[in-house]
Every structure is written in structure tokens, then in C-alpha cells.
């Protein structure tokens, strides 16, 4: 059954060329999908449209049978609690400890007052600790996040997403600012989250080889258009060249890329 369905999603920033042009695809539960494409091809915009951090101009996005595009503020928050998100720059609160940052993932499940005061239940703390252990951060539980390395920060980011008990995790270039060995650790963790916990993941990537190695399905974007959608086995070098093609004849390219980034 499809967990996520995008129908004719289009996003115009205030330029001529759209950042997303009529994007349609569906993602099944438990799939590990990567989105590849050159910078400015609309990968980030696509991810952000799904949880409406960016509003799509037109089209329909359905998550678990609910049409996200038409939700009011409260219901949107409800949906967002089920969608985790991981970022290239980690986006943690640097001055707070690892456990506090992880527990931030629970805020959406709490009443405003409990969240404001930072009151978490025993079970929530227990669950957070278990996830932190699972990701191998048990030595850093009470350390401040600005003392961590990039790879460790990203694992805190993953823990924050996991503690939400999400059905879907959106990963926005999670390994783009990490060294190769940390990147491998992160990708291994993401793979096992998908396989063992059955969470659906959508990840935007720069590295085609990583996408080929780790993910079940690849979606190629070129200037907001889906130019490839299939298993890694079908991605020949010819198709991959299509994804990254620049087409110098087309005058709109540069404009399109600038607006999308």
C-alpha cells in the first residue's frame, strides 16, 4: 500500500522556470528511496513540500491516505509528528545536551505547556536513551551538542527523528557535510532503520554510488522534472548522464537553477 503519493506536484518560486515541474510518484511502506540530481534540481524543495515546510504551488500530496495540502495548522502538526526530518547541517540546538535534543522529537506529541517546560515522561526518556544507545552515542548522552563531531551530530539528528516514532523520515542530504567514514556510519544506520524498524525513508543525495549501494529505488530529478524512477539496477550510465545533463542549448537552465536553490 502506498504510504506517500504525489500527484502533479508543481512548485514555482518567483521565477520563470519551476523548481518542481509536475512531479508524480508514490512510495510504499518500508521503501528506501533516494532522490538524486545536480544542485538546484529541486531535491530539497521536493522533500520540503512533503511535510509542507515549503508550500507546493499546485498538485496533491497524500500521506497515509490524508491529503496534506489541505490540512489546517493543527492537523498539519499531527501529520508532521509522523514524519521525521534529518538535515545536512544537522540543525540541533547547540547549547543543549544530546538527550535534550533527542527529546525535542517528542514535542509534537505533547501539550504546549509540557513542551514549553520540557517535562517528559519516564517512557519518553527511556525510549530516547534506548535510541541513543542503538546509535552508539551512550558516552555522549549528557554532552553539549557543540562538542560533538559532525558524524555524532548527525546521529543525534537521526535519534531526534526516530524518537518521534515516525512512519516516514525525510533526509535532506544527510551526508553532504561529513567525511567518508562518518558518511558510511550514517548510511549504515539509515539502512538498518529501514530494514529493521520498517520505517520508510526518502533521502536526497549527491553521490550516485551511495544511492546505488544503499537504496531500493532511485528517483532522478533534472530541473524539477522526474527523469528517472526505478531500482538501482536500471540506472545505466546513459540514464545517469541524463539526470545530470546540462543541455547548454536551453536558455532557461541558469534561471531555473538559481530560483530553485
Amino acid at each position: 500500500m502506498a504510504l506517500l503519493e504525489l500527484k502533479n506536484v508543481t512548485k514555482h518560486y518567483n521565477g520563470i522556470a519551476p523548481a518542481l515541474d509536475d512531479v508524480s510518484f508514490s512510495v510504499n511502506e518500508g521503501e528506501f528511496v533516494s532522490i538524486i540530481g545536480s544542485s538546484g534540481s529541486g531535491k530539497t524543495t521536493l522533500l520540503r513540500c512533503i511535510n509542507r515546510m515549503v508550500e507546493a504551488t499546485s498538485g496533491e500530496i497524500a500521506f497515509g491516505g490524508i491529503v496534506v495540502s489541505r490540512l489546517g495548522k493543527m492537523e498539519l502538526r499531527q501529520v508532521r509528528t509522523k514524519i521525521g526530518m534529518i538535515f545536512q547541517q544537522f540543525n540541533l540546538v547547540d547549547r543543549m545536551s544530546v538527550i535534550e535534543n533527542v527529546l525535542h522529537g517528542r514535542l509534537g506529541h505533547k501539550s504546549t505547556l509540557a513542551g514549553v517546560l520540557g517535562i517528559y515522561t519516564r517512557e519518553e526518556r527511556w525510549q530516547a536513551l534506548r535510541i541513543i544507545q542503538m546509535l552508539g552515542l551512550d558516552q555522549q548522552v549528557y554532552q553539549r551538542c557543540d562538542q560533538l563531531s559532525g558524524g555524532q551530530k548527525q546521529r543525534v539528528g537521526i535519534a531526534r527523528a526516530l524518537v518521534q516514532n515516525p512512519k516516514l523520515i525525510l533526509c535532506d542530504e544527510p551526508i553532504a557535510s561529513l567525511d567518508p567514514s562518518s558518511a558510511k556510519t550514517i548510511m549504515d544506520h539509515l539502512r538498518s532503520i529501514c530494514t529493521e524498524l520498517g520505517v520508510t525513508l526518502i533521502i536526497s543525495l549527491h553521490q550516485v554510488d551511495v544511492a546505488l549501494k544503499y537504496t531500493d529505488r532511485i528517483i532522478g530529478l533534472n530541473r524539477g522534472i522526474v527523469v528517472f524512477d526505478g531500482p538501482p539496477g536500471e540506472l545505466t550510465s546513459q540514464r545517469s548522464a541524463e539526470i545530470y545533463a546540462k543541455e547548454p542549448k536551453d536558455v532557461n537552465i541558469d534561471l531555473g537553477e538559481r530560483n530553485a536553490s
Binding site: 499531527q78 501529520v79 547549547r95 514535542l107 504546549t112 514549553v116
Partner: protein, 282 residues
């Protein structure tokens, strides 16, 4: 010693140091400004209207007055303990206005921070606050004195008013320091605005908020002294006013000045201590 002769000095030095900074428009403007200022200063000093005052004698008298103030502090009208108590009242005035100002400014600051509030709201609050700041505290106190009468009430309201404006600007700029992306990350987990503010924005800017509040407390302390003198609010400022304007007692002026100085130093030391402890902790 390692021989480094010949490296550096000859090879890398510029041929002529005088031309190192060419006389461009900016340099010329600065030099001209300095020249004009120097000329006007000399002209003013030469043509000053002394109004029959014997300058050397006046300077000597001033020195003797200063000597009376600073070397013979003594009190005729209040004991040391009374003076201490008056200082505590002044401190109370400063504390109360900083507290009121801080609490109100915290919320206004959130509404004035561009990463937290809609643009029209931040613009409205920032311009109102800029207007309030442009008018000096003492004027606000006198304005409120029309309604509340001269005294401590007008002083508290007036000083609070100005503190709010000052701290709102300082706080909102501290809040704006936090990256928008962190706020977005928490919004993406389904957290609402209040939760994001109290779980991410305020913890991230806590040390800035505290140092701005301490700074404002120091400003409010000296303002509270002035209010005691000018607006009839109680406290050490009123004693200073009485000693200088009513009794013409320079010894007492000296004592009060020393009192204020001592407390200002104590405040400064305390504030620095607390700040460094917080920095270590947070």
C-alpha cells in the same frame, strides 16, 4: 640565535613607507575634518568670554572644591546606615524597573524577532520601540510625572518604559542570532511556536539575554540615582540632591559619591562573576 638577516627586511619591505597609504578621498576627508576641528577649538579657546572670571583663581577653586569632595567626605545629615539604606532603596528601584522591563521585553522581543514573527509585526514593534528609545529616560519619567506626580511611581513607570524599549531591541537581536534552520527543524517535528521558543530559542540565547539584562540593570542603577535627584524618587540620589542643592555641603556630596561608586563596583564584580559562571555552565 638564528641568523635571519637578509630575509624579509630587504626583499619584502615596500620601497617607500610614506606612500604605503596613498592620500585618497577618505584619508583626505579625515585630515580635513581634523584640521577644521583643531582650528575651531583654538579659535574658541582664544576668544572665549570669561565674563570677568579670573581663570587661574577659578581653576584653583575648582581643585579645592574637588579636594573637599573627595578627600574630606563626611556626613552631617545621615548616618552610614541611613546612607546604606538609601542605596538599597535606589537598588530596589533599579531592580524593579529591570525586572518589569525584562519580562515585558521578553515577549515583545519574541514578537520583534524576524525569525519568529511575521514581518509586519516585527516592523511595527521595532519602530515603536525605536521611538521610545529616542526619548531619554528622564523625559519619560517627567512625562509620567504629569499623571502620577513626581515621585517613585513616575520613576518606576518611566524607567520601565525605557527599559522595555532598550531590552526589546537587545533581546530580539539575540533571538535573531539563532539560525532559522534550527527553528524549522523543530517545526518539522510538529512542535508549535511556544515550544520552539522555550526549547530552542531562549536556551540558545540565554547568555546574551542575561548579559543584556545585567547591562540594563547597571544603567537603571545610575538612572535611579538621577531620578532620586531630578524626579524626587527616594534613594541616595535624593540625598545627593539635598546635599548639593539645599545644604551646599560638599563633604556630604563626597560621601554620597563614594557610596554610589562602591556599590557600582560591587555590582560590576557580581555581574561579571555571575556571567562567567553562567558561561561555563551553559
Amino acid at each position: 640565535m638564528i641568523e635571519i638577516k637578509g630575509i624579509g627586511t630587504e626583499q619584502f619591505s615596500s620601497p617607500n613607507l610614506n606612500t604605503a597609504k596613498p592620500l585618497d578621498r577618505a584619508a583626505l576627508a579625515i585630515r580635513l575634518t581634523l584640521l577644521v576641528l583643531a582650528v575651531t577649538t583654538i579659535y574658541a579657546l582664544l576668544t572665549i568670554n570669561a565674563n570677568g572670571i579670573d581663570m587661574p583663581k577659578a581653576i584653583l577653586d575648582t581643585l579645592s572644591t574637588l579636594r573637599t569632595i573627595f578627600f574630606q567626605p563626611y556626613s552631617y545629615h545621615f548616618t552610614v546606615w541611613q546612607g546604606f539604606w538609601e542605596i538599597v532603596i535606589t537598588l530596589g528601584l533599579a531592580f524593579l524597573t529591570t525586572l518589569f522591563g525584562g519580562v515585558i521585553a521578553l515577549f515583545l522581543g519574541l514578537m520583534a524577532a524576524q525569525n519568529l514573527a511575521p514581518k509586519w509585526l516585527t516592523n511595527v514593534i521595532k519602530s515603536v520601540v525605536a521611538f521610545i528609545r529616542a526619548v531619554p529616560s528622564i523625559l519619560w519619567v517627567l512625562i509620567f510625572a504629569v499623571a502620577a506626580g513626581l515621585g517613585s511611581t513616575a520613576a518606576v513607570i518611566g524607567l520601565t518604559f525605557h527599559s522595555v524599549a532598550y531590552l526589546t531591541k537587545a533581546y530580539s537581536e539575540s533571538f535573531e542570532d539563532l539560525d532559522r534552520s534550527v527553528i524549522e527543524a523543530l517545526m518539522a517535528t510538529g512542535a508549535n511556536w511556544w515550544q520552539v521558543v522555550f526549547q530552542a530559542v531562549i536556551p540558545s540565547s540565554a547568555t546574551y539575554l542575561l548579559s543584556w539584562t545585567f547591562l540594563r540593570f547597571e544603567i537603571n542603577f545610575s538612572n535611579a540615582v538621577a531620578m532620586g535627584a531630578a524626579a524626587g524618587a527616594a534613594g541616595i540620589g535624593f540625598d545627593l540632591f539635598m546635599a548639593s542643592e539645599f545644604y551646599f555641603n560638599l563633604h556630604e556630596v563626597g560621601l554620597v559619591t563614594y557610596f554610589i561608586l562602591a556599590f557600582a563596583i560591587i555590582l560590576e564584580v557580581l555581574a561579571t562573576n555571575m556571567k562567567s559562571r553562567l558561561m561555563k555552565q551553559a
